[in-house]
Symmetry: C3
Subunit: 281 residues, 3 copies
């Protein structure tokens, strides 16, 4: 079977952009399988684009092609590229930080810049500059690759993997009496916050399920949360509306307010300005 195409963008479904982009894909090859990853990534947020790929990619069959279009694209000469990961996935994306986590945690074997002379849609009424890269470039090129019309080599010239644009990823630090990390992403629906502390590191620092942990959160220099909270295996162990620590779905340490929204109720968010400190017993 042909590889599936999984799309993630910040286009939303509020107008006709997705509809036009999918039309191009189906015009290249009617038999291609299109899946909505999401079209509601935060606008222009290449960090979230990168994180969501990382969060979900490994659950897909190995030849799946991800089309990620979050493309502030301004004032930059960002490349349009297709990256092949070590496990055999493909990502079609602007090279603008969207590949950060895939490069760091999954490994990129090879990356190619899309040759727009052959892998960009041209139509009679489209010879002039057209500004919708999601439709004419990323979607079109991905469809040609999935369909087998072009090989990975025919995407365009390879360039050094080292040149891929990356966001900085902050790692947690273990001290004698505590572990310090940041909130690196949120769950914007349920309001949970995910730290950059892997479960494995948390365990090595000496924390165990069932512990009541002194937890302090700083926004810049200001202390914004300071409480003793439980580290549970399941939300069902906590009282409603209590704040708890848990192991999230990609095996990093998260915090949640049970049946509540931790972000809005405690005025928290993610990013390097939010430091979280867990003190040892």
């Amino acid at each position: 079977m042909k590889p599936m195409l999984v799309f993630q963008t910040d286009f939303t479904y509020k107008e006709g952009a997705v509809m036009a982009m999918y039309g191009v894909v189906k015009s290249v090859d009617r038999t291609l399988d299109i899946i909505d990853g999401t079209h509601e990534l935060p606008q222009y947020d290449t960090w979230s684009a990168s994180y969501r790929l990382y969060q979900s990619m490994s659950f897909w069959p190995k030849d799946t092609i991800f089309v990620s279009v979050v493309d502030p694209g301004v004032g930059t000469s960002r490349r349009a590229c297709v990256a092949k990961t070590k496990a055999g996935y493909y990502v079609v994306s602007p090279d603008n930080g969207s590949l950060t986590h895939v490069k760091r945690y999954m490994g990129i074997e090879e990356v190619r810049e899309i040759d727009e002379t052959i892998n960009r849609l041209h139509r009679d009424d489209n010879e002039e500059v057209s500004i919708f890269a999601g439709r004419d470039l990323f979607g079109y090129c991905a469809a040609r690759l999935a369909s087998g019309i072009i090989s990975f080599e025919e995407v365009g010239p390879a360039y050094p993997v080292e040149e891929i644009v990356e966001h900085e990823i902050l790692e947690p630090t273990i001290y004698e009496d505590r572990i310090e990390g940041i909130f690196e992403i949120n769950d914007p629906n349920f309001g949970n916050l995910w730290t950059n502390i892997p479960l494995q590191t948390f365990k090595e620092a000496g924390f165990q399920f069932g512990d009541k942990i002194h937890t302090v959160i700083y926004h810049k220099d200001e202390k914004v949360f300071d409480d003793e909270i439980y580290y549970y295996t399941s939300f069902s162990m906590a009282e409603n509306y209590s704040v708890m620590i848990y192991n999230n779905e990609i095996n990093k340490i998260g915090m949640a307010q049970v049946i509540g929204n931790l972000c809005t109720l405690h005025n928290l968010d993610f990013g390097p300005d939010y430091k979280v400190v867990f003190y040892k017993g």
Copy 2:
């Protein structure tokens, strides 16, 4: 052909949860047909989950598998289950009230608790507690069932249908001079409200299309609406912005404000606190 998988959750598309869940399904079997029922159910609202299944299920082919994941899951020992309806549909869901309407109005022939030792996804990096049941349990088990990897019997042990957790369903009452019901659900997009009064009952109480009906709505003990309004077969018979009574798409009595939003314009909502009374001619 293999059964289709129709998903309804409260996950939204704001982050990578749906994308990861669908990846698991497609990793079980690339050929499975995934359909978005909705991912925008009101958060933690098992009543809505139950109602939306009831509203749409009967329009699908008889072997369709519905995966419904609204799972407050807190403080409870709710079962994860697969229910088989009398008509031959399957519902994969937490047993937490989400099966209320299906059980009452469509009939459940058999229900089985998912055996997590065989029907939960385990990965090398996933041996620890993972908290995303939509992906690792409900999605994974549903895909195995749809694909034919497991039979319904292999889902896990059957338990008595009587033990299925149900919300209370209120029925309307006919009096000499009136019929009394509640608003049991809304249309959160257009703002219509649907009562618990079946068309058949309304007719038996003596109401007919074309009637102008004295209608009173109470919120708790307070009268919040009192007017004479028409009962029409079609929105096109009413003046714009007028409030009218109609027979909704599942043959229950509804109320609408034409080209308006009855809920917001009259500050109404659904639930047992909203009593609606229609007086006979």
Copy 3:
């Protein structure tokens, strides 16, 4: 292969309407390919429905069937119809203005009124008036057409193409020293505004990429924007947050605030009340 079905509605995914409608389609024919164009069109906005079809239709394979359900339907005796375009597309829609752009710019070869006696879903529990035309009429009829159960002729009786209901489309005017148009639609996600001025007309009026253009916007009689702004081939040429002119994805002249939302930041919107004037060099 059977034609694909592309849906666009104003239903949203907040309740079970889409889920029920798609169930009807799959009950007609399990093998049909359903694609979400969008379910987030502005409520009751047949102009947007018309525009989004126009914006995306030509990117699809020629036999694709579009199901467009934005149906204020009030106080009118609007027809339910299937239109066949000159290029071979089909649109299943209320005839209420939703076909305006398709008729004007793509050409309609033939239009037929849906015969509800044969192309409306009837069920045992559905003999009474049912008010959900998206599910029982448009979705059902489109599925029968896509599946080959009915031919285009069997949709129902043809009626004169001239009778199709149209919104007025305003055209731009070239003067000695300027060109005047309106904003005819927006991009509600990124906040860009699209004029009714085709690229070709703009060029004929003498404007070129790279020009700094004196631009004035009027809301009714009030001047609401007056600045000299650049006409660029790409967002990447402009400074962040600057307002610029560009050639949009369907070769009309647009305006954008780079990495910003022009609509909200300058309190602008689309419609005939918004006149935009570009002055020549």
